[in-house]
């Protein structure tokens, strides 16, 4: 398992000192600056060194831009707003072509982005948040709490994800993208929680945690001050992975028509292209399939590159590689193929 590096240990030692001498003049500003230095700026530098982070971050930011500024300024898609069934790159007014109903494809892609981003964020926040809570509690408390929480996540882990999600979506029929994101990751937290728990098991016996414990610092405070900061790297990587899982599943569910087509989503575009416009049977209509597909692939590729690029900062095996022995890039399959990952 990944262990803490000396840098963050000394960082936490520092906060432990703060806890003991209560009235030192550490302002919020200083703390924020320390946090920025230790957890964002330095790792960021290492990450940026990697080509995968650079490409991944660029792609992700591009989609963020498209979902916010783009969706605000670009026109809404509506039927007959432009000429019907025009291929891509023929007219600068509708650069990605138009659907047989005369909708601008680019507008449809852009205006589907905000909902997709909300879905990804909601799903990832819910999954990693719950996993963090359960993993840390189970790992740190141990005993009966641990056994109860662990068997709970074991059960949740062995329920197949996709069928469960489908059954839930059909019975509940949500339209809010945040709720859809939450349902998609309904049992994604379980595998992640197990991973976090085993990390906490190695952390709980670190000297500085023991020191806090002997000083009588409360469980909650130890969890938030000593343990969770050291887990953040792992959580960050898995946050991105959870986001990727949400896109995979959401697009598939929209494509299958399990989710209502009242909102807009790239999966709906795919569905319409295949089932209504017969785009799979001719060369002319194929762009209607390819354009949403490319959008999906780009975003998932961006996220996977970002996850692997950031993973490298925190993975000691990778870090030693970076230190010089070999040039090659190493990514272990850091995602367990469990929890309905298929």
């Amino acid at each position: 398992m990944k262990r803490t590096d000396s840098g963050s240990v000394s960082g936490t030692d520092f906060s432990f000192e703060k806890g003991s001498q209560s009235n030192v003049e550490v302002t919020w500003n200083d703390r924020l600056r320390d946090f920025w230095e230790e957890f964002i700026y330095k790792p960021g530098l290492v990450a940026w060194d990697d080509w995968r982070t650079r490409i991944g971050a660029t792609i992700t930011l591009f989609f963020l831009f498209m979902g916010t500024v783009g969706a605000y300024f670009y026109r809404q898609p509506s039927t007959n707003q432009v000429e019907r069934s025009v291929g891509p790159f023929q007219n600068p007014d509708y650069i990605l072509g138009t659907t047989p109903l005369g909708e601008d494809v680019l507008a449809k892609i852009i205006h589907a982005t905000p909902d997709i981003l909300i879905m990804i964020t909601a799903g990832a926040v819910w999954a990693t948040g719950l996993a963090l809570l359960i993993g840390v509690l189970a790992g740190y408390k141990g005993g009966l709490t641990d056994r109860a929480l662990t068997s709970m996540s074991d059960v949740a882990m062995s329920i197949p994800g996709l069928p469960l999600i489908m059954v839930l979506l059909v019975t509940v029929q949500p339209t809010n993208p945040a709720i859809i994101g939450g349902i998609i990751t309904i049992n994604y937290w379980a595998g992640l929680g197990r991973g976090l728990r085993s990390q906490v098991l190695t952390l709980r016996d670190e000297p500085y945690v023991e020191a806090s414990r002997t000083m009588g610092v409360g469980t909650l405070r130890i969890m938030f001050k000593d343990i969770i900061p050291n887990l953040m790297p792992f959580v960050l990587v898995n946050f991105v992975n959870a986001g990727r899982y949400v896109i995979f599943q959401a697009v598939a569910l929209y494509y299958l028509g399990i989710l209502p087509s009242t909102t807009s989503n790239w999966g709906i575009l795919l569905n319409q292209a295949v089932n209504q416009y017969g785009a799979l049977f001719s060369l002319d209509g194929a762009y209607l399939v390819f354009i949403p597909t490319i959008a999906i692939l780009l975003l998932t590729l961006g996220l996977i590159l970002l996850a692997q690029g950031t993973d490298r900062i925190f993975n000691p095996r990778v870090r030693t590689r970076l230190a010089g022995e070999s040039e090659s890039t190493d990514e272990e399959g850091n995602e367990q193929p469990a929890a309905g990952g298929f």
Partner: protein
Amino acid sequence: MNSYYLKRTARAVLTVWMVATITFGLIRLLPGGPMQQLRADLLRQGGMTAAEVNARMEQYTSLVPDQPIHIQYFNYVAGLAQGDLGQSITEQEPVVDIIAETLPWTLFVMETAQVMIFVFGIVLGAFLAYKEGTKLDSVGSAISIVLSSIPYYVVAILAVYLLANIGGWFPARYGYDSTVASPGLNLPFITSALYHAILPIGSVVITGVGLQLLAMRGNSIQVLGEDFVRVARLRGLSDRRIATRYVARNAILPMYTGFLTLIAFSIGGSIILEQIFSYPGVGQEMLQALENRDYPLMMGIFLVITIAVVISVYIADLTYGLIDPRVSSGDSSEAY
């Protein structure tokens, strides 16, 4: 027998029971949920007294609407334990029969695909590990990352478009050609079934092999650095022997449980795949049940898929203890 096996058995039973409870809860308890809809549908058809409606509902769902909730629950679970999954509303057939008819197709496609993923992943991953640091290694790893970032359904759609509809080299739908063969143990049927399975299996393998390959590569590189491999080299053992007996064995070990669970979970993934290829498997059936709001069928398939997953995970747990003796002795809890 120690507590390891006891715990795993208890967990398997608990999971199936939990899912049975969830399906019961979804069918019965949701306000305005399936039971109310079913009753409304039956009443709308007309010509039935309230008692007849209740009888029909009992036939579909094995639930008697007027009974108190805990007795309904007990009857439901008891029915499931005897293999009674109710009756499909749209197909007017016992759910068990429908599943028995369609599940073999799904198992055939998904299990073949997963075995292929495992074999290719191990062979190619070990190969890249030996070539570590070379151009071939970086190109191979990069391709694996890109392939594993593509959803399998995207490859499936593209395969239908390019290889089946435009190219015409492969069939785009169904499990076999019913004009040339009838199901059974005869050569035309088997070749037709294999021919129809190439695209579905191919799209799963292409997108799934990347992650396994990278995992195997990482494990192998780690094992290659271990002391016992160095000692084996010093003893003058042949490279082949070191590669198969020393490196591969230890590198495959951590992938084993992941592999068995993946086999099980892939049955859930078949829903999308089978829709794209109009494949006559259990996933296609589940999708139709979802579209038609055929709750007994939907929940029945969901339960069967879960049971398949639980059994596979259970087998993985039990046999893993056999291959890796460290698991069942003492510090077992963190073995995976």
